[in-house]
């Protein structure tokens, strides 16, 4: 959470294939292992 993944934050998914999920949030690129990533709840916004 303290990395800036907060409720209401807009996250851009850069890569979501076999390995870790790569996100862009608050101007930072973040790689999250699938385990951690699966605990992040998101909704798709256009």
């Amino acid at each position: 959470m303290e990395l800036g993944l907060l409720p209401g934050e807009v996250v851009e998914v850069i890569s979501n294939s076999l390995g870790p999920v790569v996100l862009r949030v608050r101007g930072m690129t973040l790689a999250l292992g699938r385990n951690v990533a699966s605990r992040v709840w998101v909704e798709v916004i256009p």
């Binding site: 990395l3 800036g4 294939s17 390995g19 870790p20 790569v22 101007g27």
Partner: protein, 698 residues
């Protein structure tokens, strides 16, 4: 002269280390933080007649004491009460790096903000209102570029202003919305009892409500009853607000940051899709990502090998018929230059001492034993320096972190994360570097596993031995490279398998640590940063392992040059203690098809440094070229294969053992690492040899 204590703090990747090196100008003392293997760097500088003692705190995203780095940084600030903390933030991504600044300012107000990478921000069309930021944060803000050395004088001025109380500082107050009444309640309780006095009261109250374990423990010890009350207030807050207090607190800090950023930062949009996006499409793609990562590593090592040893250019040119050019490249490679320098020095000293009537053995000891050992140590320095320079460049440019992400999927199967890629890559340069690099890992188990497994990866010294074996026993270049490549492939497989087994049987954990990693933006690597990185790591190695290598080098010289008959002036190595020891070891080497004591002796010497194997073959046979030496010992293809496998795994070299010991700090694990390697060497070389015999080779 008066002295000021300055702590340098900030998140990772904001250029904190660069700033630290810039300010201290290399006058740095490196040690570990007490009880952990995190590096603690301290430096000094002088400004307007005041000595500034600067301590580089671990780079962390917050100060919530959730990991070792955060706890160390926080304890240092609270216990040592530095005269000033310099909080480094990244001007190109204020949203991110201000979080740490807000956390730090809530805890400690004697601070200066260093707004780093200001030049890069301006280039990207980001403009920041400095005065606006100062009034919002309540402390001086100084725009700097650590990389280019801009704004450092002003930064030092402000540091002294704050330290000497010439600056008015306003406390930063975060509005915690619904949490406020609860904060007041806890604050009042803490004040009444006069407890946790070393922390600012409001800060402690917020942290307690957030569920700060370290702080709650401290409170429970001092006043268990109050701790219980605080816990129940926290529960009440959770129920009344319908949300986790920690989440409210973090959101509140971020909304303050959003407000600050929106009122002080103006962005001019850059239209074209940036290079970052294009590169990310390549590097993070499921297929092209791993491929380009592997190619990147191969390319990096091609460069390192070429500069250090001339390989593979020397061999390439040799086969194309340019023998002279090949020899020239080899001679003027770094290790070639150093080697001939120490040869020259050794014979010069011997020529100078002999006519002066000193005993033969003394001349030998000085010119051969001592100078030779220094030469061994010196030969490591370019290997390490080059490995660090190129890998530092890859790391700094942002390419290697992407490679770690794209290889994560592969490493997971072996109970490792993508981070395990760094020691494996560094190991091709030097196992010592690989072992030392594991200290950057977050997960303690992964750190230990990778440092124990990484010496299996063939380093540059072993590459030299491997190449000599391949060219001595095989004439066809295709067969030569087949042997070399298969040893490398086997080593990577063993690295992964050993890690898996260590995870399973030693640490009894099978899942891989989850990767959470920030990917810094791509940028052209800065030569200065790379140089600092390479220099400090190499110095670290020389200081830690230098003496050990020197002493054991001299001991080995004694074993080789003294025998039951005394000093062996004619260099008759077969009568030496080392040869006797070698004879004792032949039953073991017979298992892998090398019954000659010369091989056993070479293995002994190779422990000091693996290239010592080649030196031994040369000095036993009297042939300067190790390839010739091996041929005159009657090496066959089968023996070469067995030798190649045994040589690669039989034991990590002396310097690596020293590094393992300083990183693991558990003697048992170091011994286990050595035992695993010996077992692997005997098993693999033995199997290869006896299968070969059955198939009719000799």
């Amino acid at each position: 002269m008066s002295e000021v204590l300055v702590a340098l703090a900030g998140s990772p990747n904001v250029g904190k280390s660069t700033l630290f090196n810039r300010i201290t100008g290399g006058d740095v003392h490196v040690a570990n933080w007490p009880g952990v293997t995190l590096q603690r760097a301290e430096g000094r500088t002088e400004h307007h007649g005041v000595v500034l003692r600067i301590v580089d705190l671990p780079g962390t995203y917050s100060l919530s004491a959730q990991d070792i780095g955060e706890r160390i940084a926080r304890e240092f600030i609270v216990e040592e009460k530095p005269d000033v903390i310099v909080i480094v933030v990244d001007a190109t991504s204020l949203e991110k790096s201000l979080y740490f600044a807000v956390m730090a300012l809530e805890l400690y107000q004697k601070a200066v903000i260093a707004l780093n990478m200001m030049d890069a921000a301006e280039k990207r069309g980001i403009h920041i209102d400095i005065e606006g930021l100062e009034s919002k944060l309540g402390v001086p803000v100084v725009p700097v570029s650590a990389l280019k050395g801009i704004g450092l004088g002003v930064l030092l001025d402000r540091i002294l202003d704050v330290a000497q109380g010439r600056m008015r500082i306003l406390p930063l107050k975060v509005d915690y919305n619904g949490l406020e009444p609860f904060i007041h309640e806890v604050e009042r309780l803490l004040r009444e009892r006069g407890i946790l006095k070393k922390y600012p009261c409001r800060w402690a109250a917020v942290r307690l409500l957030e569920g700060d374990e370290v702080l709650l423990d401290e409170l429970s010890k001092e006043d268990p009853e109050l701790a219980g009350k605080v816990r129940s207030i926290r529960e009440r807050a959770r129920i009344e607000l319908g949300e986790d207090p920690e989440r409210i607190a973090i959101s509140s800090r971020y909304s303050l940051i959003d407000e600050i950023v929106s009122s002080t930062v103006t962005r001019v949009r850059l239209a074209a899709p940036t290079l970052t996006e294009k590169l990310d499409q390549l590097m993070l793609h499921p297929v092209t990502g791993p491929i380009s990562s592997v190619l990147l590593i191969l390319f990096t090592f091609f460069l390192i090998f070429a500069v250090n040893t001339g390989f593979p250019l020397n061999i390439l040119f040799d086969h194309m018929g340019y023998t002279e050019l090949a020899a020239l490249i080899e001679e003027y490679s770094l290790s070639g230059i150093l080697g001939s320098f120490f040869d020259w020095l050794s014979s010069a000293i011997s020529d100078w001492l002999t006519p002066m009537g000193y005993a033969d053995w003394l001349v030998g000891l000085i010119s051969d034993g001592i100078i030779g050992s220094i030469g061994t140590l010196a030969s490591f320095i370019p290997l390490l320096l080059m490995a660090y320079v190129f890998l530092g460049a890859m790391q700094d440019s942002g390419l290697f972190p992407r490679a770690a992400v794209s290889l994560d999927n592969l490493f997971r199967r072996f109970g490792l994360s993508g981070r395990a890629f760094f020691p494996a890559a560094l190991g091709m340069g030097c196992s010592v570097a690989a072992v030392v690099s594991t200290r950057a890992m977050d997960d303690d188990r992964e750190r230990m596993v990778t440092s124990m497994a990484s010496p299996l990866i063939p380093c540059q010294a072993r590459l030299l031995v491997l190449l000599a074996l391949a060219s001595a026993a095989f004439t066809n270049p295709l067969e030569q490279s087949a042997l070399t490549v298969s040893v490398y492939l086997l080593s990577f497989v063993l690295y992964l398998l050993t890690s898996k087994l260590l995870n399973k049987f030693l640490f009894k954990v099978e899942y891989a640590p989850d990767l959470v990693m920030e990917l810094p933006p791509y940028h052209r690597p800065s030569l200065r940063v790379i140089w600092w990185y390479a220099r400090s790591n190499t110095e670290h190695f020389v200081k830690k392992a230098g003496l050990l290598i020197f002493v054991l080098g001299v001991v080995t010289w004694f074993l080789l040059n003294f025998g039951p008959t005394g000093y062996l002036s004619q260099g008759d190595i077969s009568k030496s203690y080392a040869a006797i020891l070698g004879n004792l070891l032949t039953p073991v080497t017979s298992l892998i098809g090398l019954p000659d004591w010369k091989y056993a002796l070479a293995f002994e010497v190779g422990f000091v440094a693996k290239e010592g194997l080649l030196i031994t073959f040369s000095s036993i046979t009297g042939a300067a070229d190790p390839v010739e030496a091996l041929r005159s010992m009657g090496i066959t293809p089968l023996k070469a294969v067995s030798m190649a496998l045994a040589m690669n795994y039989y034991v990590p070299c002396l310097a690596t053992v020293a590094a393992l010991f300083s990183e693991l700090r558990i003697g048992k694990y170091v011994l286990l690492t050595v035992a695993i390697e010996i077992a692997l060497a005997l098993l693999l070389a033995g199997t290869a040899y006896w299968v070969g015999i059955l198939m009719g080779f000799s």
